[in-house]
Assembly symmetry: C2
Homo-oligomer: 80 residues x 2
């Protein structure tokens, strides 16, 4: 029986989460540090990185800014 | 007394809505046509264009695709 969350996941959200995670690790940040900078909950950020959350644009821009890129650059990295 | 919705509006969402509207008009599309292509409600699209809605990424990508651009290009146009 496949993982139920995998059934719901969209490739776009998984790609976005992967881009956020890659940028975070490249910046040497923990999820706690990025969550604090982006003013989001740490567990929420974890869901976003796993592709389990359909992020709203204002949060996306805060996460991008905390990672030192624009929202457009983040979407570019995620091929969206 | 300023328009209450203007008090709530964020510059980012107003900029994004403006970019969507500009692309839609440049493509000669009505809100009905774009809403149909992007599979969103026409009145919802109207709120997004006015900057009154914190659009989720999956919807943003559908609207961008319907306008013939990527999500990244749309955010670039909106300076986000």
């Amino acid at each position: 029986m496949p993982n139920p969350s995998l059934l719901r996941q969209s490739p776009e959200l998984v790609s976005l989460g992967g881009a956020i995670r890659a940028l975070r690790l490249a910046a040497g940040m923990s999820q706690e540090e990025l969550a604090h900078l982006a003013e989001v909950d740490r567990s929420y950020l974890g869901r976003v990185e796993r592709g389990d959350n359909n992020v709203a644009i204002m949060t996306l821009c805060r996460v991008a800014q905390a990672l030192g890129v624009s929202g457009a650059q983040l979407l570019e990295l995620a091929h969206l």
